[in-house]
């Protein structure tokens, strides 16, 4: 009888709506955020090496490189606007964006899922679909949120689909699990190391922002098409805090 009741409870959890069952997971991460952060810090400290004297760390280098890519992209976009000689006043894309700083409670990256849990929620202005930045690059979007906690689905998550800009056209990038994503059936070969920008999305992103770089370019089953494998441009597993892009924040 005990077994039957517990199994029934399990199936109730299995078939309940996700926004209901997420409350249990969020509550656990909120209540135990302190020991979870300590455990994670110990794990990260064990893998960190001190940088040499006159050089910056690899993480800082990646952050600056991403910032350079974003600024270059904005400069090119502004050049196009000036060339068009628009008669109306042009407002740079970043001016409409606000940023909510959030600490990462836990990181879960494996073949089945790629997610973060943040210590900010609806009370801080977060909603589903908002983009999340780490080291000046997009790492994912808010997938679930409650009053004080939010779950970020990374762009490498198998359930993630992100529109990216390659060669002047928009393409759909699908997460493949682990730390990789894939764009399929591209018409031309793309050089390894090419920066991939997330496309603008009205209401969520006003200007393209770097999201990854090309790790591999492979032949598709179709003879004239290519598939590219994209990897992140920052070390997401070591991210201790992130910024959530909030469009048109209240002043």
């Amino acid at each position: 009888m005990l077994f039957t009741w517990f199994t029934l409870a399990g199936f109730i959890f299995l078939f309940s709506p996700k926004n209901l069952t997420n409350k249990f997971q969020f509550a656990f991460h909120r209540i135990f955020s302190w020991p979870l952060s300590i455990g994670r810090n110990i794990s990260l400290s064990a893998g960190t090496r001190r940088p040499l004297g006159d050089v910056v760390s690899r993480d800082e280098y990646k952050r600056l490189l991403n910032h350079l890519a974003n600024v270059t992209q904005q400069r090119d976009a502004e050049h196009q606007n000036v060339e068009k000689l628009a008669k109306m006043r042009i407002i740079p894309g970043w001016e409409h964006m606000g940023f909510v700083f959030a600490d990462v409670i836990t990181v879960s990256i494996d073949e089945l899922r790629s997610e973060l849990i943040l210590n900010r929620g609806e009370d801080d202005g977060l909603v589903k679909g908002q983009f999340v930045l780490a080291d000046n690059s997009i790492i994912g979007t808010i997938s679930d949120v409650d009053a004080r906690t939010a779950k970020v689905r990374l762009f490498t998550d198998p359930k993630s689909s992100t529109v990216v800009r390659i060669g002047g056209s928009d393409w759909l990038m699908q997460g493949k699990g682990g730390s990789l994503a894939r764009v399929e059936m591209i018409k031309s070969k793309v050089k390894i190391g090419t920066e991939i920008m997330a496309s603008k999305r009205p209401g969520f992103l006003d200007t393209p922002v770097i999201i990854g770089k090309v790790a591999r370019c492979e032949r598709n089953a179709e003879p004239l098409l290519w598939d590219i494998v994209v990897e992140p441009v920052c070390n997401i597993q070591k991210a201790e805090n992130v910024h959530v892009i909030v469009m048109n924040p209240p002043k």
């Binding site: 005990l2 077994f3 517990f6 199994t7 409870a9 399990g10 199936f11 109730i12 959890f13 299995l14 078939f15 309940s16 996700k18 069952t21 249990f24 997971q25 656990f28 135990f32 020991p35 979870l36 952060s37 300590i38 455990g39 994670r40 110990i42 794990s43 990260l44 893998g47 836990t106 990181v107 879960s108 990256i109 494996d110 073949e111 089945l112 899922r113 997610e115 198998p158 359930k159 699990g177 682990g178 597993q237």
Partner: protein, 160 residues
């Protein structure tokens, strides 16, 4: 059965699994190791309660709620009944018990996730095998400290 100590042990394992071991690509499943421990060293009704509770804890740090509660509960109960027939006291037997339970429970979790519409990674068997092997290698060594904490007498040489 000391339920407060059980709760502390499970919470500790859950926090470690979600934080300290989260960065590893292949990692031991502490909750699965504890599942086998309690299935072997408790009576049947306690084994059922502990199995489902451990599964619930695994769901809290998992992708969705439900799959691990069901699979851990099912295989924990089966293991508790199997222990009446085959004594799982020696380390070799514990290794195989953890390994096979990890493979079966992991497969059922992926199947239940598939029913719920969650994506299945292309190389699940490699991931499952790695986690099962790592857990089976580490697990028997964690039985002694767990038994000490739970004040359970264990005798590896045979049946009590």
């Amino acid at each position: 059965m000391r339920w407060f100590r059980f709760a502390v042990l499970i919470l500790l394992a859950t926090v470690l699994q979600a934080s300290f071991f989260a960065d590893l690509n292949i990692r031991p499943d502490l909750l699965l190791i504890l599942l086998v421990f309690f299935a072997v060293y408790c009576n049947t009704s306690e084994a059922i309660i502990t199995s489902f509770t451990i599964g619930f804890a695994a769901d809290l740090i998992g992708r969705t709620m439900g799959p691990q509660m069901i699979s851990f509960g099912l295989f924990g109960t089966a293991l508790a009944y199997l222990h009446h027939v085959i004594a799982i006291r020696k380390m070799t037997y514990q290794f195989f018990a953890i390994f096979i339970t990890a493979l079966l429970a992991g497969s059922l979790v992926y199947f239940l996730n598939f029913i719920k519409g969650e994506p299945t990674p292309p190389n699940i068997y490699a991931a499952l095998f790695g986690i099962a092997l790592y857990s089976a290698l580490v697990g028997p060594f964690l039985f002694l400290p767990s038994a000490w904490w739970m004040r359970i007498k264990i005798n590896r040489s045979g049946r009590r």
